[in-house]
Symmetry: C3
Subunit: 267 residues, 3 copies
């Protein structure tokens, strides 16, 4: 028996909107510690990891660990029917092949039950080792989203270069080149407007803008984003979810593109 | 000679937006009592009835009953050119094959005349008998529109079931099932937020969501909608138009679908 | 060496949005007096003339006159990456085949450099003689834009007729005819809401609505528009740009259409 009651139901709506275009089908894993998901995107390039800790739910009952395979497009269609102020409860009976999403309006005048069929999905849970990163940038999530969108009008890849002074985002394409520098800045009115660089070593890595733009759909979940970079590791783009968890996107750097951008002689 | 001056011209704009996708061509009937329309939708399944009583016009002159055939798409194109605060006057000379829409801006600085050709349209006026309905639901029109839209993401038909406690909207489709219950609720801050059930007998009827969604285009005309249901009759979905009339949509229940939804054994 | 620093960078963004659909490639001419452009639209029917006077820039350095050929679509893509509050600096080295747009956020925390390749564009600068116009209409730019848009739902051309009392915009199409009269009105709360007619002689001229609608993309640049008309001359549709210049659109009247509209006997 599973029954998870989330007062701020809009969080779950936003989570689905953040990942449904990246991942088609995925197993949601439910244990006593929380509700989580780990999935590769459909082209097996990027990895998404979601965690909603049990403490974040008003009521959390999960008698035994279960894994529920869901089509995220269909799940999103159902969650879109929840109002932004609705309480959402996820329910499943032991051994059932369906999951029920219950939406309660704040006044309790409107109660909706949406029942969705579960799927069998083969997936192996990847162990993601804890790592030390050479550079960690925390910045306003809307700013990061704007930069990825702007650069994708010029080129296909972004070089992210971190120094003590700031982080530079660069691209080049047929119509020209672009460099955007965000300086470290901690003297701001609101903490979420700060740009903070934690750097042990400067890094410069190249990524496909298509994926970065996809990750920024999670911008609605958090005012800030944290980008962790190391030359030998996939970048981690993390959005915190209120007090209860996070959504993390992992993407390997493009080796060739980086070389090309860095060492190709000017013609 | 016809001359109908409507101070709140936006009402006529909204009426056209409500019905132009449902009905292509229709006769507007003008008599001393009011300006009205009755028309089947283009697939001859739903019926629209509009009434704007003469008392609602600032000036109303209709020397003799006339019926003016109009293409609603073209009429809508012209009314879209009226500002939302404009006064609209409908004018036609006796025997003329055109109608003129005059728009006056509130300051009288901008005066527009749009002249449209009339059409000959065969149509017989159906007598719609007054009927007693088993269940009459009045609810916020935006809520009803939201429910029809949400359910059409899941299935093609909606079962509307009324009991003393409330009204249930259900659907089923390939991805699962949905049930939305709105409870009777009269203790609200504003009267238009109430959900009121007037029931002599419980009913459960099935309708095509496509038409319901089309009817909800009239949501801009009124904060509330009234849904009148009887097992042997078409449903009536009514939106009041200010103090001056109404727009009513009639749709026959789907017999087969209802049976299927109600009695099909679970597999 | 060229370096032009424009504090209100959004003006340049709006200029590009105003003309990029009308003109594909154009030479921007830079001299000590200002930054200007003159170009025919791609079908060689309308002419655009832009002037941004040097006094309007915070810093203006132009060592020698140069003409820089740019693709306006690409330039617009780059300028879209500037924030609305950003300071924009246009930079070019002598003899360089590129131009650089630098965007500085108001807080100086984000600095962007966009470098674009220049093009060789053949163009001859047309001398536009100063002329006396028979009728000059100044009116709210949003009203003019609304009228052009509304009429293009009915017909393809607009007849603009000016008398002492006001200006009339007329069209006719398959579904009917439309006449919109704006009366002279100088008793308004705000000067930019006035409609002012300066007339030495009444005029009535016909223009293609397609071009008029294109010109009204400059509506964001100014609250008012000035339309200068003479029977033997192209109309001038002018939008002032803050204190620093203007954008002017020139379009020749349609001779045949005018005749047809004016003298064709009613059938």
């Amino acid at each position: 028996m599973l029954e998870l009651r989330l007062v701020q139901g809009s969080l779950l709506k936003k989570v689905l909107e953040s990942i449904k275009d990246l991942v088609n089908d995925a197993n949601f894993d439910c244990s006593s510690s929380g509700f989580s998901l780990q999935a590769m995107d459909s082209s097996h390039v990027a990895l998404v990891a979601l965690l909603l800790r049990s403490e974040g739910f008003e009521h959390y009952r999960c008698d035994r660990n279960i894994s529920m395979g869901m089509n995220l497009g269909n799940m999103s269609k159902m969650l879109k029917c929840a109002g932004n102020d609705d309480i959402i409860t996820i329910k499943a009976d032991d051994g059932s092949d369906t999951v029920t999403f219950m939406f309660e309006s704040p006044t309790q005048d409107k109660i909706s039950d949406f029942e969705m069929k579960l799927m069998d999905i083969d997936s192996e849970h990847l162990g993601i080792p804890e790592a030390e990163y050479q550079s960690i940038v925390t910045m306003p999530s809307a700013e990061f989203a704007r930069i990825c969108k702007d650069l994708s009008g010029i080129g296909d890849t972004v070089v992210i270069s971190v120094t003590k002074e700031g982080v530079k985002f660069s691209t080049r394409g047929d119509i020209g080149t672009a460099n955007i520098v965000c300086r470290q800045n901690t003297t701001v009115d609101k903490p979420e407007e700060a740009t903070v660089i934690n750097m042990s070593e400067p890094v410069s890595l190249t990524f496909a803008l298509r994926y970065m733009n996809s990750f920024t759909k999670a911008t609605t979940l958090s005012n800030t984003v944290t980008i962790s970079l190391s030359s030998e590791l996939p970048v981690v783009v993390e959005y915190k979810i209120a007090e209860m968890g996070y959504i993390r996107f992992y993407l390997a750097p493009k080796i060739e593109e980086d070389d090309e951008g860095e060492t190709k002689p000017e013609v």
